[in-house]
Symmetry: C2
Subunit: 465 residues, 2 copies
Amino acid sequence: MTDTNPIIAGLAELVDAGRLLTDADSLSHYGCDWTKKFEPAPLAVVLPKTLQQVQAIVQYANEHKLALVPSGGRTGLSAAAVAAYGEVVVAFDLMNKISEFNPIDRTVRCQAGVVTAQLQYYAEEQDLYYPVDFASAGSSQLGGNISTNAGGIKVIRYGMTRDWVAGLKVVTGKGDVLDLNNDLVKNATGYDFRNLFIGAEGTLGLIVEATMKLARSPDNLTVLVLGVPEFDAIMNVLTAFQNRIDLTAFEFFSEKAVQLVTAHHNVPRPFESATPYYALLEFEASNDKVLEQAMTLFETCVEQGWVMDGVISQSEAQAAALWRLREGISETLAPFTPYKNDVSVMVSKVPAFLQEIDEIVNARYPDFEIVWFGHIGDGNLHLNILKPDALDKAEFFTRCESVNTAVFETVQKYGGSVSAEHGVGMTKKPYLHYTRAPAEINYMRSVKQIFDPNNIMNPGKIFDL
Amino acid sequence: MTDTNPIIAGLAELVDAGRLLTDADSLSHYGCDWTKKFEPAPLAVVLPKTLQQVQAIVQYANEHKLALVPSGGRTGLSAAAVAAYGEVVVAFDLMNKISEFNPIDRTVRCQAGVVTAQLQYYAEEQDLYYPVDFASAGSSQLGGNISTNAGGIKVIRYGMTRDWVAGLKVVTGKGDVLDLNNDLVKNATGYDFRNLFIGAEGTLGLIVEATMKLARSPDNLTVLVLGVPEFDAIMNVLTAFQNRIDLTAFEFFSEKAVQLVTAHHNVPRPFESATPYYALLEFEASNDKVLEQAMTLFETCVEQGWVMDGVISQSEAQAAALWRLREGISETLAPFTPYKNDVSVMVSKVPAFLQEIDEIVNARYPDFEIVWFGHIGDGNLHLNILKPDALDKAEFFTRCESVNTAVFETVQKYGGSVSAEHGVGMTKKPYLHYTRAPAEINYMRSVKQIFDPNNIMNPGKIFDL
């Protein structure tokens, strides 16, 4: 491909023929993520195939002061992968090889463009398990997962993406190729740059390859859905179960969420009785003793008045059906133009925090309806405010912006995070100071300058220099 | 306390009366760790009691360009806590409070001077478990554990100290107090400085407080010791068990180690037959099915010829007795003036790596006897060379220094680490480049300069500026 712009023409020479794109469709396709707040407007899109090509692109960007935006599955929810200001998008779609599976270490090497579900299937074929899972696993890529330290529905047992990265190969903003951690379990040799690059949202360099750990396959995953009369009781249920059973998930959702999901999807209610809240627990019922233990705990919870009703899955199909109550929520809410937030506090602070947010929103915006759900075992709440039918969309979002300030002030009061798992990107950048102190943000700026002195790596994301 | 040196007199005013020490005994007591290679020679020792005092000390050190050496239990094995060059030792012995236990989050706040065993007992009192455990747990302090990312005998199941730190309060070398991560499970708001300070050996700042996570108490821990005819078979045993049972430990030791421990301690052999190698496995036998599974796996291993004999603990006392076979090794070796090394490679590379080291040492130093043991489930091997009786101690260590180069060249060839869990400090500093590339070490230097521009924080440890 040749281009009248000599900068673009030079860039095209660094990748395979036809792997630099400047047509309008490609620019708009590769220039955005799932957020729709910013108009994509990249200068070009490059699709490297090798580490050497990636390194050449970074060196070229330094010489010509081109801003680079790394791009994976573009399923992000914070505009961290949006190219709205004439950047060059570096898309990893062509670097999607899985190799060097190692059954003893239970590790496998993945290029940055490997899709999450691709790794999950690969692990299953080896009779192993890649436990990081979330709604966008079918299209999100590992490079993006690692750059935002993706979480999801199994964090209570398996942790975040961070916990599954044995090693990283990166190209820093300066153009150095670094092999971080050599895929070792134990390596006490100075600063842990692997963990620094994880969650850095592409602002320090490009993740080119990762060695991912795999887990033993879970055994007979069983789901329990419990009807809970008041929010505080959910925490009692969590503690009671957690002290006896290794839970693989502990999710919650409200009656409103159940009503919406059962009305709009072919999903039955979990049981007849309606309760204000529901908890969904999952665990490995690897033998009868665990199931007995779960039933005993259930009975205790009922006796204590923490739980009104419950159902336990008897098969994989039933477990999947119960999961749909939780997993169908986002999709069901979509037509209601929800205003979404992704916040976290310490687990023990969840009840008071949730009540305070409820009170604030109810008092100031009595016409707004709130749907809560989330990964309560991790303190991660998804706050969804539904647009009243009568309200204009633009007006709704303007009013939600002012809700933001109230929500984030409350997050700060409770020592929480303005972004539990979606990242900062551009959408949370104005609110970063509610979670990170000014001194910390300044240290972040300085660290970025070390790895990326020309500020070419995803500039304007997380913080401004 | 007043002192003729005005710098010391000024420093004394920053801590409680009597909490600055300059007597010879204190200087030598607080100025060293378990390594004996460097002569302790600190200028003074301060024992702060509060965050404010720590911050004042750091500010004073910046003004007067005083080097600070953080000091915990001084059980380190890399001279990271040795003050050999007129530094001021900041000892955390008086900051040993445990507070704010939170049963829902299963977290507890610990000052840096809390002793590891103190936290283990505290957890037990709450019917919970602090799973990081190693030989020096009775005197090592959490601040030191965190600064070296201590490992130990349960890493295969529970990970390193890193995995149990929910949040950190630090004073950077610049004097800023930072609260890192707010103790949250999920917090996707930029660079993870908590993980940067973990394992930094006090070179970026002082860890003052940590919020530690606790785990569910393990249930009926059961120990299996297996006699293995050849080293490769140990890896087969590991894979076979790991695919079916969540192991809490997988250790190995050689027949030579068993001979020494059983001869010098009141510990019986695990079983009659002697085999070249032994594997010690531990797991939660929470019900009969797990025990049956373990027995089936044992039989498979015997059928395959991987295991010649075995014994399983029937009680806590028997489990403890079997553990003594492994835990008694270090103490038993001590009188033999062993030359010790702590290296790691990927688990799958252990057999080839171990054989190559054996061949090198046997060929070049035929009079040296090697005792291997280690955390083989993590790829972490402790190489111990015993001093031949006839050889002079100084001569022995000089020859061992040249063994070092051969060992570390092999470590590098296998992509391993020159320090798996002991840290770099001063003893491994000359060998750091075998594990970290020059570009990475330069980035480390730059990162240090951001947090510690005057190079007052444990200077000369890990790398030289």
